[in-house]
Symmetry: C2
Subunit: 230 residues, 2 copies
Amino acid sequence: MKIGILGTGMVGQSIAEKLIQLGHQVMMGTRDKAATLAKSGKDAMGRPAFGEWIKNNSNVQLGVYSEAASFGELLVNATSGVGSIDALKSAGENNMANKILLDISNPLDFSKGMPPTLTICNTDSLGEQIQRTFPKVKVVKGLNTLNAYLMTNPKLLPEPTNLFLNGNDAAAKAEVKKLLMSFGWNEKDIIDMGDITTARGTEQILPIWVRLWGTLQTPMFNFKIVVGSK
Amino acid sequence: MKIGILGTGMVGQSIAEKLIQLGHQVMMGTRDKAATLAKSGKDAMGRPAFGEWIKNNSNVQLGVYSEAASFGELLVNATSGVGSIDALKSAGENNMANKILLDISNPLDFSKGMPPTLTICNTDSLGEQIQRTFPKVKVVKGLNTLNAYLMTNPKLLPEPTNLFLNGNDAAAKAEVKKLLMSFGWNEKDIIDMGDITTARGTEQILPIWVRLWGTLQTPMFNFKIVVGSK
């Protein structure tokens, strides 16, 4: 499949690597191609910056947001939450119309220091805001509740854990579920939470996620829902 | 130990039953003793109302909030979140001074229908609000992330799951941890998240908890944090 990934950071790179391994064609989208390609050295997490990363991932194409959106039959929003709406506007709703957008973004505000706060919460969510702003797009929120490496390598954890999907379109969620299963996730571990308003719940687990990262001293963890008898 | 439980609902009853089993002395606190004792029939969850429940739990004493607060060497806040500050004011800070308050409450607002929203979130939490309002009390937030039956019967689930503690006083958290271990929790599964500001994270998992209850069609579940290698 042709897949367009909006965002060139750690999440976008992790998803792109996996998709190329699986035989898909990938174009990543950014605001400014030259600036993105010029990024060198290591990023804040010690990972090679995009300009270095792309040298070892030359099958991945790079375009501006609108080119990646137009290229993809399925789209992934891997931009930072505070910039997502602007990035998607730049991608253009017509380029995304009737396509599935797997929305991995989180409304985290790091501008006031650590730990981050949420820019949207409680009675609204970024997933809903994206769906309202781009009604022609089939938004499916998912993968936003765990580290980028684990998104595409669930078996790095010692036992199966859960993913949560939120979205209004059942067929779109089924398609995303198939994609996630190709990443190594078990079908039974992918929980369909319901319509896009259920993204409030999944986005609001980020505050405990961030604190657990500090407490556990590693981002390599995920939530498992253990269910008893009714 | 003498333990005072503020609140006479499902959570308070579940904790009281366990504490009596374990040989503690328990006084439950309420606003209006006569009104609480007059509650009959079943509650919204199909459980016997307090007036019926107390007949089978006659070792449990009932007082007004200030009596229960004065009685207890350790206190439990099992009132509903929207009423917690008022209930604790009625209990009286001097009756609670230097005592541990295990705060199980959640800032859930059901007044606009289901699902509930949070009355406090993101940059503050009910746990912090209680600690700020009653600075002489050693507030330890805990047990607020799972069903009342599971709080005192963790082995009803097929595998160990996690609890989270939030509080400023390390000795108070250690004391609460011992109490929770006497309920059947494993020491290694009780995660000390840090100071009381980390209650933001644990209170904000309630929105996904409520949605999971709907999706899973049972409240008998809990979160397990699965950690990989660093």
